[in-house]
């Protein structure tokens, strides 16, 4: 089987697309550049929406990007089960697009937070975390101003009871996120949004750890499993991770 192709979207103001493409390559997949103004995903097997300040955070962080042509294609792909990862501004974009519930608002301390952040991966039952045994502690960079996850009480109850809180902050809260939530997944476990950045943490030489690499390796596994299932014929539900 040839290497999975993982798309990385660039909007005006995206910063971390190059790091995301590098992480995809380190994980053994082929990064494919996707452009905000096109609604063509070029047949990729998975999509990364990287961080930065798309459209200068005008209106609200992620609000304009969520309404661009490429996001319409991402929403359609997510409905078919294509793995989608939103990191930082990418997480904000996926919430604004309605692919994930809740919203990201300004940090409780009113300060931009930039630090190496300790996290606990709570669930391996997603396309992006299957390589982490549940409860794994990792350290990756966090750099955000609107990083405080909020959701109404019914949404929060659903996320917690369905095991969809995938990543949680450890130690003192960096931003006041409700229940220390750093990342959440869609109900089918294919779409993951997280504020901390796994993509610069793939090599101890250039990041605080290599803890983030397994995020991208998990997606490579998920794509390989989906291909196997397709080749073997339709087996109901077997393409779902978790």
């Amino acid at each position: 089987m040839s290497a999975p192709r993982i798309g990385v979207i660039t909007f005006p103001g995206t910063l971390d697309d190059v790091d995301a493409a590098r992480a995809v390559r380190h994980a053994g997949a082929e990064p494919v550049a996707l452009w905000h103004a096109e609604d063509d995903l070029r047949g990729v097997d998975a999509v990364v929406v990287p961080g930065g300040f798309s459209y200068g955070d005008y209106l609200r962080a992620g609000a304009i990007a969520a309404r661009q042509p490429v996001l319409r294609a991402v929403i359609e792909a997510a409905r078919r089960g294509t793995p989608v990862l939103g990191i930082c501004n990418g997480f904000q974009i996926l919430c604004e697009a309605g692919l994930l519930p809740g919203a990201l608002v300004r940090n409780a301390g009113s300060r931009f937070v930039c630090r190496d952040q300790r996290l606990r991966v709570e669930s391996g039952a997603t396309a992006w975390t299957s390589r982490y045994p549940p409860g794994t502690e990792i350290v990756v960079p966090l750099k955000s101003m609107e990083g405080r996850f909020v959701a109404d009480a019914p949404t929060l109850t659903a996320l917690e009871s369905e095991g969809r809180v995938v990543v949680r902050y450890l130690g003192a809260s960096p931003n006041g996120a409700i229940n220390d939530i750093a990342g959440i997944a869609s109900a089918d476990g294919r779409v993951l949004g997280m504020m901390p950045h796994p993509e610069p943490a793939i090599d101890p030489l250039t990041g605080p750890s290599a803890d983030g690499l397994e995020v991208f390796r998990s997606a490579v596994d998920a794509v390989a499993r989906a291909v196997t299932v397709t080749t073997a014929g339709p087996r109901r539900g077997s393409a779902d991770v978790g």
């Binding site: 609000a63 809740g102 608002v105 300004r106 940090n107 301390g109 909020v150 109404d152």
Partner: protein
């Protein structure tokens, strides 16, 4: 051409650190009696005559405001 105003504010249950910073700044300036500030956004739209109220509310609720965290009002000047 009608002018329409959309005002957007954070929902009461959403902590507004910018509003809190303004309250503290007022206190440091010696202004007394301001207990709370909620910072929001004010939009002025010049629209064609045939843009109806339903469309305006859709614009407000689907783009100008995020209903998860914000309330909004639409009024025509």
């Amino acid at each position: 051409m009608p002018r329409v105003v959309v005002d957007v504010v954070p929902k009461p249950e959403i902590l507004d650190p910018q509003g809190q910073a303004i309250v503290r700044a007022l206190s440091r300036q010696g202004v007394r009696g301001v207990r709370d500030v909620r910072q929001g956004k004010h939009f002025e739209l010049d629209v064609d005559d045939d843009v109806d109220a339903e469309t305006l509310h859709r614009i407000a609720g689907e783009l100008l405001a995020n209903p998860v965290i914000e309330d909004w009002t639409v009024r025509q000047l």
